[in-house]
Amino acid sequence: MPEQAARRVVVTGLGAVSSLGNGAGALVAAVRAGRSGIGPIGQFDPAGFEHLLAGEVTDFVPEEHLRRLDPARWGRSGQFAAAAAHQAVRDSGAEPAALRSGRTVSVFGTTNGESQILERLAEKVSGLGPSAITGAAAGQADAGRIASAVAAELRLGGETLTVGTACAAANYALGYAFDLLRSGAADAALCGGADASNRATHAGFHRLGALAADVPRPFDADRDGIVTAEGGVALLLEPMETAVARGARIYAEVLGYGVTCDAVHMTNPDRDSIARCIQAAHRDAGVKPEEVDYICAHGTGTRANDATEVAAVRAVFGDRLPPISSLKSMLGHTMGAASGFGALLSCAAIHEGFLPPSATLRTLDPELGEGVDAVPGVARPADVRIVQNHGFAFGGNNAITLFGKVTDR
């Protein structure tokens, strides 16, 4: 096989199903205005919980988004992914038929897979015992059906891969898609992440004492935790040569990514491992720290995460930190979709020229140290050329993607 030069990979389509609106345009406008998607829990019975807020998608009518998938046969996470992917294709102006060559891959990250299906199964088992399970319901529970939902909806024939690296999963998905496109193993990729609001996640974080009293306040002196949330996000990636040839709008180039594992503790973040991940991403992308204009933080709003994250950034960047802000201040923690939303906003920040805000920030935590610009309130206009997008997870999974402005098309 002839040696092939590595191809450059660009983002040409964006799609989102979020608590801040359907469609990338609605989401980006809401983020720029610093609006909140947090509200009362509606996706499961919140009776008995002491924390009653979540970042839920309240206006999602599957039939309005899906042409082929029967909503009765696919879980909410898969529906989110398929709807977002539809939008990304439309947004890209790519010819849908051209994506059906068998060389368009679907790669999506998730934390909890089809969590609502599992929740319904558990409720049945709880009431009636395991014999209450039906094969049809159980057949919808595989996490892998998230990427398959996208492929079925868009009639793609290529690889379908659902990555289960918890809250770093969408960045993993983007990274894998990037490798496939860069090497020539695929010709286009729909990638991102999806998760649905569910009882298990809410109970787990509740019990860990990690839920905020009201809204999440990343980087704030009074931050007290996350708010569980849901959503689906999709990016259309293609080789730059294809995008240029068809005259596509290019949001940004995927410059590279890095992945590390803490291998220390299942739930506590690790500064050194995150710093190593940042360096791996920089090396892969050929980017120096001083070239990074903005960091789209993991920024969960827990005391431990934000302090560890800023310390890791400081370990690599020294005392000249780029602006760093958290979408979770508005969306809450969308789990496996979170770093996908970060990727979408990274592209929008580069394309439109703004820094997304930490909308709920009131008093910057002085313990984070000098020189932290967390962009409080609303978005700020800025020339953004290179963005670093963080995704960290339980299990010690860290993944960081880097996006850059294309100036030489």
Partner: protein, 376 residues
Amino acid sequence: MTAVAAPPAEAVKESTVDTVDIVGCGVLSAAGRGLAPIAERFAAGVSPVPEPAAEPDFPALPVRPVTGFDPAVLLGKKGLSRMTATDRLALAAVADALEDAGDGPSEMDTGVVLGTALGSAGGVLDFLRDTFEQASPYLVNPSHYPGTLMNSPAGKSAIRQRFTGLNATVSGGALAGLNALRYARTMLVAGRAQRLFTGAVEELTPTGAWAWHEGRALADGTALAEGCAVFALEASGAGGRVLGRISAATTGFADPGAGLGGVSERLAAVVRDALAEAGLAPGDITDVVPGASGRRGWAAVEERGLRAVFGPGQRTRTDRVLGETYGAGVALNLAVVLSGWQYPWRAGGCGRTAVLTSAGFDGSVGCLVVTRPDQS
């Protein structure tokens, strides 16, 4: 997908080839621990007749639990209560694979890639049941929470072995194991890790058994089973003992809603792509190992695809010996192939070039081409 990862110029370390070598393995199956008991079962030609599980929550469905595995002995008692059955199987198989492969690249260049349909079904459902049954829904056991996440076994394996390199978990129903092998190969070829402990795991639970039973999803004579197979993978060319070489791994998708014939055709196409990638013709293949033969209806879908490429012929059926292990299936089938190369259990030998396939309920299909390296 025909094109194979030509390694990106700037990322190349040693990875100048696009094949990966299996340099060790750890296997826990219905046959026992390791490759030898698998070979023994295949050599004997008959396996013990599977029986319904003794536990009261199970349906009257024949099952094949993992045998020869005492978690407390292999893993120690510390932390065991916080591990799901999936965690235990995976941690033990990774440890066995490490012992088999011996010391290798640095911990920073070593990682774990595991496939699973949805993680520990038992762990997730028990945790969820607590949210319905405890006095308050959040009165769950916090130490059980990480075990409900799909990436728990990979994360815990990394902690146990101090592997700080690439760590990933992938899903994909019956294709989960094949997906893990393909993902790991892409990562090794791209130079993102030097050694990846790669495989798949599936546990046997009452709820899962009821789902298979009520869905009438098992082929006649196939037992529901569990297991885990993990392989130490390195980019080819490092030298040393090689159990097998993964020459190609391809996957694709066809919506079953548009007709099962399309799924068979898609499978045939990914098999042809895999053979082209490996530089082999159908006639070069000495062993065809279907992955769907234990799943009612899907065995025929898979066989139609295989016939289109290979014509009618011998297949190596593994479900009568190891049972239906779903997400772990292709990984355990790879262990069966390797067991034949280590301990030839077929008269005349077990060949040297195997094709392993599967077809999942969702319409995902895949193919792995594995070759036995020349002995030297």
